[in-house]
């Protein structure tokens, strides 16, 4: 039923299809604009289907090793190579599969939304090219098993997203935001290249599995670890390197912002992948774990307190994205801090990691939903300033309902998905250190407070005379938001199913370095 071609080559197709579609976009757009919209939608649907198929196969059959250019796709160590894996290898294990599921869901909803939100703008020939290129680069970042390949996709995503942020030039604000984002992203890329130089110079390997098997934790490796944390935590938007996040997220078109959230999480995935699989127990787990925890707590607290006095609705949501990234760092940092202690790892370490990883997918879904609703409001009203909005609940009922679902989810209110992952984080981090769990709960309350402010000032209140003409958002946008809202409710009502089928394999894959090595080095 499924062609043999897909069974063999789906990981490569998931990168190749959006890449090819991206570069054919301007050509098709030259003839018909509607044809371009159909082409983009078809490419997004195909990419999401391929990503979901890859993820499904990985979850049922185990890690998928795909070698580019070998005689058979899983021949990672050819007989004449002397026991060294050669060629670029994509290793899709359960954690990568989870990120592929996120890209599939959010990527398709966002492109569906963008067809009507950005459909009337000019300069669209470059816009959809960059959009599909960004999706391709995120898929590449999460599937690859090669350090330099990760760097290349990392830079592609930085370039594509910076150009998309600066897309609507108008008064130049968006270009300023794109510039600031891109300068910070370039510095992070230079750090990553430095890490590659250090690790390649020592071990003569670029494949993550090969490096992991040869890793002795020398002084140079410690320097490389610090540079990795610095670069990837910056791109993920954690305090105190978060300054680019509010600028870039606020001024990008809303569909781009939802995808930027996924790109930041792909950098976070890269951080976890390199710490857990490349270094694993060779590093000082307690110190590095506490480093991640401190970054997480700072992100949570500074993010939410900076969000409360904001006037710009998307800037406020961007600060909340920083804050929620702190939860993920806290959860996984707790798991890392007890990595050497098997008793504590089984008692609460695994649960903390599962909570942090579950929060990644939950955050992608509800944050995407919130940014899309903000985009719908800005599309109809024409301003991002909350001081000038009011009483929109009279006219935009569906948008209001979707916003409520997203806001309750991000605040961690049952029965939505945010509550499930936050509960896992609270309970396991409490066993590690009660103060951290209390800070996390206080931040959750402040999140709810700030979203009550947003909800009240945008939707509640009397119907203002200048917004008499405002109608509900267009249908394509409602469908895009509806997919994400349905998933928020679904993940909230069936959390144990989601954790058992998606999250626990991912956490186990992250913790189990020997399984990762065996898939590549153990032969075909």
């Amino acid at each position: 039923m499924i062609p043999q071609f897909l069974w063999d080559h789906a990981p490569a197709m998931t990168v190749a299809v959006p890449l090819l579609a991206a570069f054919l976009c301007p050509l098709i757009g030259k003839f018909t604009a509607t044809g371009r919209k159909a082409w983009v939608l078809a490419a997004a649907a195909a990419t999401s289907a391929l990503a979901l198929f890859t993820a499904w196969r990985v979850y049922t059959l185990g890690t998928w090793v795909y070698v580019f250019g070998a005689t058979v796709p899983n021949l990672s160590v050819p007989p004449d190579s002397g026991g060294i894996p050669i060629r670029i290898i994509f290793e899709v294990d359960a954690m990568s599969a989870l990120m592929l599921v996120i890209v599939a869901i959010v990527g398709f909803s966002v492109i569906l939304y963008s067809l009507s939100a950005d459909g009337k703008r000019s300069g669209l020939e470059g816009y959809y090219t960059l959009f599909l290129l960004l999706i391709a680069s995120i898929v590449g970042m999460v599937s690859t098993g090669d350090l330099f390949n990760f760097f290349v996709f990392f830079e592609i995503s930085g370039l594509a997203s910076a150009a998309l942020v600066a897309y609507r030039v108008e008064a130049g604000r968006a270009v300023e935001a794109g510039l600031k984002y891109f300068v910070v992203s370039t510095l992070a890329g230079i750090f990553m290249l430095f890490v590659i130089a250090i690790l390649y110079g020592q071990y003569n390997a670029l494949n993550i599995a090969m490096l992991a098997s040869r890793m002795q934790f020398t002084m140079l490796d410690k320097i490389a670890l610090v540079l990795i944390i610095g670069a990837l935590a910056t791109k993920a938007g954690s305090v105190p390197m978060h300054f680019w996040t509010p600028d870039a997220y606020a001024l990008a078109p809303s569909s781009v912002t939802a995808l930027l959230v996924v790109a930041s999480q792909a950098s976070l995935y890269g951080l976890f992948r390199l710490i857990f699989t490349l270094y694993n127990l060779s590093l000082n787990a307690a110190t590095v774990g506490w480093v991640l925890i401190i970054l997480g707590v700072l992100s949570m607290f500074v993010g939410v307190t900076m969000a409360i006095p904001q006037k710009d609705v998307k800037r406020l949501m961007a600060y909340h994205a920083i804050s929620q990234t702190g939860y993920m760092l806290l959860g996984v940092g707790t798991g890392l801090a007890v990595l050497g202690n098997v008793a504590m790892l089984d008692a609460f370490g695994r649960m903390a990691m599962e909570g942090g990883i579950f929060h990644i997918i939950n955050h992608a879904i509800y944050k995407g939903l919130l940014f899309l609703t903000a985009g719908a409001i800005i599309y109809r009203v024409g301003t991002r300033d909350m001081n000038r909005m009011g009483g929109l609940g009279h006219r935009m009922k569906w948008t209001m309902i979707f916003f409520m679902i997203g806001a309750l989810a991000i605040a961690g209110i049952p029965p939505f998905n945010g509550f499930a992952s936050k509960l896992m984080i609270y309970e396991s981090v409490y066993l590690f250190n009660p103060v951290l769990a209390i800070i996390a709960m206080v931040v959750s309350i402040l999140t709810l407070a700030s979203f009550v402010k947003v909800f009240h000032s945008i939707f509640m209140g009397p119907q203002l005379p200048e917004y008499e003409h405002v109608e509900e958002a267009p249908t394509a946008m409602l469908w895009g938001m509806g997919i994400l809202a349905a998933l928020v409710i679904l993940f909230g009502l069936f959390p144990q199913q989601v954790v058992d089928s998606l999250i626990t394999p991912a956490a186990n894959a992250l913790l189990d370095q020997s399984g990762y090595l065996a898939s590549i080095l153990g032969g075909a």
């Binding site: 910056t234 105190p240 300054f243 609460f348 396991s428 402010k453 209140g461 959390p495 144990q496 954790v499």
Partner: protein
């Protein structure tokens, strides 16, 4: 299928919550049914009642977003007066922060 999410030290079952919400909705409905059934549209019955005073203009009655949490920001003014100015808009300062954090991580990870 088991709907209970079990964390290591507790559990959460969404079905229990849904039953609780259903009970609350039923109670709310019963209370709502005891209200007045009919009203005349356009009369004083549909206008907001502010103890007999005139309703202020829509613009005056709206509380803008910046003023909603004045008490909170005022109480934490010691914190906000330091953190908010740190968010200058200057891009070289952003790079400086990245380098400071990397340097601090050097000291933490490499020296210990």
């Amino acid at each position: 299928m088991a709907l209970t999410l079990s964390t290591g030290s507790g559990f959460w079952n969404p079905v229990v919550w849904l039953i609780a919400i259903a009970v609350v909705v039923v109670v709310v409905y019963l209370v709502w049914r005891r209200g007045e059934a009919g009203y005349t549209a356009g009369s004083a019955q549909v206008k907001p009642f502010i103890s007999g005073n005139a309703e202020p203009a829509k613009k005056v009655a709206q509380m803008p977003a910046s003023n909603l949490y004045w008490g909170f920001t005022e109480a934490l003014s010691g914190y906000y007066s330091r953190v908010v100015p740190a968010h200058t808009g200057i891009v070289t300062d952003y790079l400086l922060w990245v380098l400071w954090v990397t340097a601090a991580l050097f000291l933490l990870v490499v020296i210990t």
